[in-house]
Symmetry: C2
Subunit: 225 residues, 2 copies
DNA sequence: GTCCATTGTGTGACTTTGTCACTGTGTGCC
DNA sequence: GGCACACAGTGACAAAGTCACACAATGGAC
């Protein structure tokens, strides 16, 4: 079957899953379903637990925290080839937490029911490895976020974020507001910092966009401890 | 045997483990060893991965992050009756992270080798439950820390911490320096905030100690979002 | 006891960051 | 054109972090 062949492929797109036992792969593929979600849809959030564990095939999911004070901050992203173990596990026990996952683009994912997930953890040593490695990655990321929020200067953090968001391109399509959520700060702070960067000739600004002019200068600032 | 009886007991001290299958309990008890560590000993840290997974029987472990900038912040505590799954899992994959665990008192713990841990996860559904619940708790705690560091005012956070550290007693044996590490801020900031609390008659200060005079006022401030 | 190092705390000047209350200014829609 | 609406700029001020100190309490060493 063609469908079958297509489905088998998704497991191999995951670096951590490609080395699973054939039997485990088969189980994953057979008992999962491919789903698609439009841009900006809320994958999970307060009062909206995901029934399944997701393996992202295409697109990215932004996980952010909405504080009681009304402030927001981006915690991490789930990219294609990654899974949302952390979120799943969290929701198993505590659903009163305030993080939410939003699709940043159209998202394609393999949905694995909890029971299957549990089965896999029990059966497959390499799946256990995958799960715990994914946990580790997320948690060390969270440690990093705490460190940055608590101790890093805004200019350093903003430079870092601009580099991160730019990728290979030099123009970033974003607003000051969105950048402020990325860093958990106020819009005005971003506006001022970007102005300073612009004054130094490192960037150029236009409505809804930032263009990096002197990438090396930004990288230099971002690399400061 | 008396030893046997003693050992069997420790599993039942864990709310999450007491409902394990008898067979699983037995495995846990048989394949673990009770260890003791003195106050202020570093249980794990950069370049010092724990070989075993620990179940705390007595005492508390403080997990804190040491930033490249030299700053420190307390991330969470592991109390008697809790395990350090998170830390263990982290260290499985990434050992270049900067968190460390320090015994805050003499610590007694049951050490479970990794292989046994893996076995248990495979064999026992209720042990899996326990592990993922422990993960959830830690991670939601970390989300809370991020929220506080990013968005809460210092006075609110300090009031909260004073209440937390005081327990049932009214006198807290700590220094401004230690409090600043708790909240990931500077010693001077703590000194000034405590002075303000003292000026309002909410606390009294002496060298190495803070005495709560008007607990309700502190609680009131701490409960503010 | 005195001397002395260590640790804990107080303080002022200054910078950075966050908050508040605004004013403009593009953009698309009716 | 008029009108929302999202986006960006600004000044005044408050809160928090940084730096460079001074000074006090404590606990040995002698």
């Amino acid at each position: 079957m063609n469908d079958k062949a297509m489905e088998t492929l998704w497991v191999d797109r995951f670096p951590g899953l490609s080395r699973l036992e054939p039997r485990t792969k088969q189980l994953l593929v057979q008992r999962s379903s491919i789903i698609t979600m439009p841009t900006a849809s809320v994958i999970f959030g307060p009062g909206k637990s995901p029934e399944n564990m997701l393996f992202l095939l295409e697109g990215t999911v932004r996980v952010q925290q909405v504080s009681e004070t009304g402030h927001e901050i981006v915690l991490y992203r789930i990219n294609a080839g990654e899974s949302c173990v952390l979120t799943t596990a969290c929701l198993l026990a505590y659903d009163d937490y305030s993080a939410e996952g939003v699709a940043e683009s159209e998202v394609q994912a393999a949905a694995v029911p909890r029971i299957v997930f549990d089965d896999l953890v029990a059966q497959s040593p390499s799946f256990r490895n995958f799960v715990f490695a994914a946990f580790s990655k997320r948690i060390t990321d969270l440690f990093l976020v705490i460190d940055e929020v608590a101790f890093q200067r805004m200019d350093v953090r903003l430079a870092h974020k601009l580099i991160e968001l730019s990728g290979s391109d030099d123009t970033i399509a974003t607003t000051h507001q969105k950048l402020s959520v990325e860093l958990g700060t106020a819009r005005e702070v971003i506006s001022r910092q970007l102005q300073e960067f612009q004054r130094r000739g490192w960037i150029e600004q236009s409505r809804g966009a930032v263009r990096i002019v002197e990438r090396s200068k930004l990288e230099n600032l971002a690399d400061r401890d």
